[in-house]
Each structure stands twice: as structure tokens, then as C-alpha cells.
């Protein structure tokens, strides 16, 4: 069973091809991460899968259903949610309203149960239900962003740089919860600059370069490849000099 299957995906924006034939597969209970430098197309890939960018060639299948180039609200309905880069939570609305909006594509009868489930994962959100989203700390906002995405009960959750700007402790908590989320039957596609943290929880990884996948394999295979260690994992010697490097990377 595959939660996500991306085949030969091309995306031209303004005459320039940003994605040049990407192939990515996420198993139904998998955590897959995509590594790569800035500007190689990781975020673009997520936005294309999520229907924010349209006009792609190739196919995107979720649970076997073709969702290529559908509008984003239909893609959420088909079972793909995302916690986007920059979070984009609704700062002037309460945490509860943020969660309710996350469930906008679902039947209203499920709402209470979904909120309970998300608050079970992120207990801090239950305490903050009546607070404005904008009043939360960075880590809480990231949890709200992930919780809001889970309200749609996705088959696949895509996260774009969830560790960005967060303290190492908070990153560890969130990455731990991602494993719980996978355990509850939602596959995860993770774009992350913090490569070592991502590889710790991933069971498969892709490296992107210039709009293409340049390397793929199990985390052990990536860690064994000298070129990848040097480029994305900071290299052995550097790690000794900066022990908290993996939290900031």
C-alpha cells in the first residue's frame, strides 16, 4: 500500500521548469523525508502535491487516486493535509476556531472527536483552546499548525520545515509526536533542513538537487554516503565542534 506516489512530476513556473521529473513514494505507514539545499524545489514539490501550484505534468496519486492538478480544497478532501512553511495559522482566531477550520472538509459530527484526538496529541492546545492563535509561542503555533492539518484526518501529512526557528527541546517533542502520528495511520512526508533530526525518525529519504531527486535510500544508506554526510549532515569533524548543530542546521 502506498499513501503517496509521485511519478515524473514536472512543474513549469513562468517558463522555467522548477521540478524536472520528480519520483517520490511514501508507504501507507511511512515517514519519508526530503533533504536538499535551499531552492532545489522541496517546497515547490509540496505545494504542487497539495494543489497550491497547478499546471504540473506527471502524476500524483494518493491511496491510488489520481489527484494531479486538482484544486487544493479537493486535495485536502482526498486525504492530503499540510503544515506549510511559515505555518500560516490564523492568528486573529482562537485555537479552537483554527482547529474547526482544519476540519472544514469533514462532516460536522466528527468535530468533537477530532478536537479531542488532536488535543490528546498536543495537550497544550487544550489549555489554549480559547486563546488567539497569534498569542501562542512558536512551538505551540507549530503544534497548532500540525494539529489543524490533522483535523482533516489525512492519509498523508506533509510538513515543510517544522523545526524552523524552534528550540531543540521543542523540536525533539514535535519529532517524537510525528512518530505517534504515523502510528495512528497517517503517513508523513517531511521536508527538513535539520537533516540529522529528520533522518532519525524517517524510514526512507530522498535528496533533491536542481529540481530532481539525486539520491534516495534508507537513512543508513544516506549516512554511509560520504558526499551526503559532507553536504547535508555537517560532516563528522564539524559536528564535534558544534554539538547542537543538528538542532539549528
Amino acid at each position: 500500500m502506498t499513501a503517496l506516489e509521485v511519478r515524473d512530476l514536472h512543474l513549469p513556473i513562468g517558463g522555467q521548469e522548477i521540478l524536472k521529473g520528480v519520483n517520490v513514494t511514501v508507504a501507507a505507514d511511512g515517514i519519508v523525508c526530503i533533504l536538499g539545499a535551499n531552492g532545489v524545489g522541496k517546497t515547490t514539490l509540496m505545494r504542487t502535491i497539495g494543489g497550491v501550484y497547478r499546471g504540473a505534468q506527471g502524476t500524483v496519486r494518493v491511496d491510488g487516486v489520481d489527484i494531479t492538478n486538482l484544486p487544493s480544497h479537493e486535495i485536502v478532501r482526498a486525504g492530503v493535509s499540510q503544515a506549510p512553511e511559515g505555518r500560516h495559522i490564523f492568528g486573529s482566531m482562537t485555537v479552537e476556531e483554527n482547529l474547526r477550520i482544519g476540519a472544514i472538509s469533514r462532516p460536522p459530527g466528527e468535530l468533537r472527536e477530532s478536537i479531542d484526538r488532536v488535543c490528546g496529541l498536543f495537550p497544550i492546545l487544550r489549555e489554549r483552546l480559547r486563546q488567539k492563535g497569534g498569542s501562542l509561542s512558536g512551538g505551540e503555533q507549530q503544534m497548532l499548525c500540525i494539529g489543524r492539518a490533522l483535523m482533516a484526518r489525512p492519509k498523508l501529512l506533509m510538513l515543510d520545515e517544522p523545526s524552523l526557528g524552534l528550540a531543540p527541546m521543542v523540536v525533539r517533542t514535535i519529532f517524537g509526536l510525528l512518530q505517534d502520528i504515523r502510528g495512528s495511520g497517517t503517513a508523513i512526508l517531511l521536508v527538513e533542513q535539520n537533516a540529522s533530526a529528520a533522518l532519525r525518525i524517517a524510514d526512507y529519504a530522498y535528496v533533491m538537487e536542481g529540481g530532481r531527486v539525486s539520491f534516495e535510500g534508507a537513512p543508513e544508506a544516506l549516512k554511509a554516503d560520504e558526499r551526503i554526510v559532507a553536504a547535508y549532515l555537517g560532516g563528522q569533524s564539524q559536528r564535534h565542534r558544534a554539538p547542537d548543530d543538528d538542532a539549528r542546521a
Binding site: 513556473i13 505545494r47 497539495g50 497550491v52 501550484y53 497547478r54 484544486p71 487544493s72 480544497h73 486535495i75 485536502v76 478532501r77 493535509s81 499540510q82 506549510p84 505555518r87 500560516h88 495559522i89 490564523f90 492568528g91 486573529s92 482566531m93 476556531e97 474547526r100 477550520i101 482544519g102 472544514i104 472538509s105 489543524r148 492539518a149 482533516a152
Partner: protein, 303 residues
């Protein structure tokens, strides 16, 4: 308080509530799209004309006129969004949805549609004030203590209160209202969580335009001034109320609309009547100089 002052306050509140109804439509649409809908004054004008045509044709009970005009307004909003806004919104990425170019393009397209509609109305109805059937005017005087109100004042108070409550209900208790608020908070976020943004934008136009059309109907029947150019002055004042309120702030816009209405109604006590129209512009200048984010604006907004 003396009777003249009370009378002035009563008249000012009626006027201010009319501005407020127009300002709500402006503010809703601005909130969602970050763009000013310059055809709003024509929706207001057409609301008044639609009411007049309906009254002349069937003379139905007043509440029926109200519902029909609200429906006409919603239909106009739907059409306006299709003609002047949606074609310019083809790209859905962050940069183009928020771009200055898109805002300026919709500003011009809505202005163009507005001018076209106004000229067509003039071709069809002529540029003069329309005669209003005497029974339809909302000017039967009613004495309340020392103050003389008219049926129109009561209708305007009642209607504005009902519509503000309805709006509150819509925005805070319904799915579509939740989506409208999400869009005006973070359009891109709304796209990511799977809100059908195009549909919500259409709803916003329909709600805002039915408010505008009803304001036109009330003012037309209250002051007896229905003509193709009737939208310009009140819509400009509603626009100023929106700016004063902080652009994306409905309660702020309503309060500022009341402030403008009251000032205009009380000002003739202390200054020549022909200067009254300047008041709103003075408010605008003071706001732009001293409160660039609006009197009730929380953070600096792009104007």
C-alpha cells in the same frame, strides 16, 4: 439636552447607520481580497433603483421589497466578482495573490464596471432624481418626546440592528463565516487548509453587496434621492469610515461611520451647511496623518 441637539443626534444616527451598512460591504471584501471594490457605489445605486422598480411594478409590502433588494444585491455581487475580480485571479501562488499588481488591476476593473453600470443606468433612467410613489417614502413623522422621527428612522435603526446581528451570526456561527474570517486572516493559510477560496470570495461579495444594495434602498426611500450618481458621496464616506476603522475591522468601521454621520448632522449648528461635506475629508486627513493604521487598527496595514 435641548430638542435641537436630540433631533440632530437622531438624524445623525440614521445617516451614520446608512454609511455603516455600506462600509460593512467594503470592509468584508477588503478583508478577504485586500482590494477595494470601487463598484460598490453602483451596487448601492442599483439597490435603490431595484427597490423603486419593484415598488412601481407590484407595490408589495415593505418587507418583501427588502428581501427582493437583498437578493438583487447578492446577485450583483456574484456577477461583479465574476466580471471584475475572478478573471484577474488566475494564479494561485502566494506572490501573485498578494501582489500590488493584482490589487491595482482589480481596483481599475471594478472602477470600470462601476462607470459602465452608472452610464447604463443614466441611459435607461435619465440623470435626474426619480419620482418616488408618495406611499413608498419612509417619511411619515412620529413624535417621540420633543424629537420628531420618521418611519424611515425606525426602519433604518431596525434594519441596521438586524443586519449587524445577522452579520455577527454569519461570521461567528456558520461555516461560511468561519471561512470568510480565515480568508481575511491569512489567505494562503486558507488555501492550505482546504478552504474553497473562490467559493468563499463569491459568498463575501454576495453578502457585502446585499448590504450595500439595502443601504441604497433605505437611503433612497428615506431621503427621496434616487438617481444614477447617488452612490458617489455616501460610498466615499463609507470608504473613509473603513479607513478610519482600520481597513479590516468591521466594528471599527461601523463606529467610524456613526461618528461621521453624527458629525455631519450636528455640524450645521456651528458652521455653514455647505461645509458639511468637508467633515469626512478632515476625518480622513487626520486619520492618515495621526493614525495611519486607523483609529481602531491594531497593526500597520498596507494602504
Amino acid at each position: 439636552m435641548d430638542a435641537v441637539l436630540l433631533q440632530g443626534i437622531a438624524n445623525g444616527l440614521s445617516l451614520g447607520l446608512c454609511y455603516a451598512l455600506i462600509a460593512i460591504g467594503f470592509t468584508l471584501i477588503f478583508g478577504v481580497l485586500n482590494a477595494v471594490n470601487f463598484a460598490h457605489s453602483e451596487v448601492y445605486m442599483l439597490g435603490a433603483f431595484a427597490g423603486l422598480v419593484i415598488i412601481q411594478a407590484f407595490a408589495p409590502p415593505f418587507m418583501a421589497v427588502v428581501f427582493l433588494v437583498a437578493a438583487v444585491g447578492a446577485f450583483l455581487g456574484f456577477g461583479l466578482e465574476r466580471i471584475a475580480f475572478r478573471p484577474l485571479r488566475r494564479a494561485r501562488d502566494e506572490a501573485s495573490l498578494k501582489s500590488r499588481a493584482l490589487r491595482e488591476a482589480t481596483l481599475m476593473s471594478s472602477l470600470a464596471v462601476g462607470i459602465l453600470v452608472r452610464e447604463l443606468a443614466e441611459l435607461r433612467f435619465g440623470g435626474d432624481m426619480q419620482p418616488i410613489p408618495s406611499g413608498a417614502m419612509l417619511n411619515t413623522p412620529i413624535a417621540v418626546g420633543p424629537v420628531i422621527l420618521t418611519t424611515g428612522d425606525f426602519y433604518i435603526f431596525g434594519m441596521a440592528a438586524a443586519m449587524l446581528l445577522l452579520l455577527q451570526f454569519l461570521l461567528y456561527r456558520t461555516k461560511i463565516g468561519l471561512s470568510i474570517r480565515a480568508l481575511s486572516d491569512d489567505l494562503i493559510g486558507a488555501l492550505y487548509v482546504g478552504i474553497n477560496t473562490d467559493r468563499v470570495i463569491v459568498w463575501t461579495f454576495m453578502i457585502g453587496s446585499s448590504f450595500g444594495a439595502l443601504a441604497g434602498l433605505m437611503v433612497g426611500l428615506y431621503y427621496g434621492t434616487i438617481f444614477p450618481y447617488m452612490g458617489f458621496a455616501p460610498t466615499l464616506k463609507a470608504f473613509i469610515a473603513m479607513l478610519m476603522g482600520g481597513l479590516n475591522n468591521i466594528p471599527g468601521a461601523v463606529l467610524c461611520a456613526l461618528l461621521i454621520g453624527l458629525s455631519e448632522s450636528l455640524a450645521p449648528e456651528i458652521m455653514p451647511t455647505r461645509w458639511v461635506d468637508l467633515i469626512a475629508y478632515v476625518f480622513l486627513l487626520v486619520t492618515l496623518i495621526f493614525f495611519p493604521a486607523g483609529i481602531f487598527g491594531r497593526k500597520a496595514e498596507r494602504v
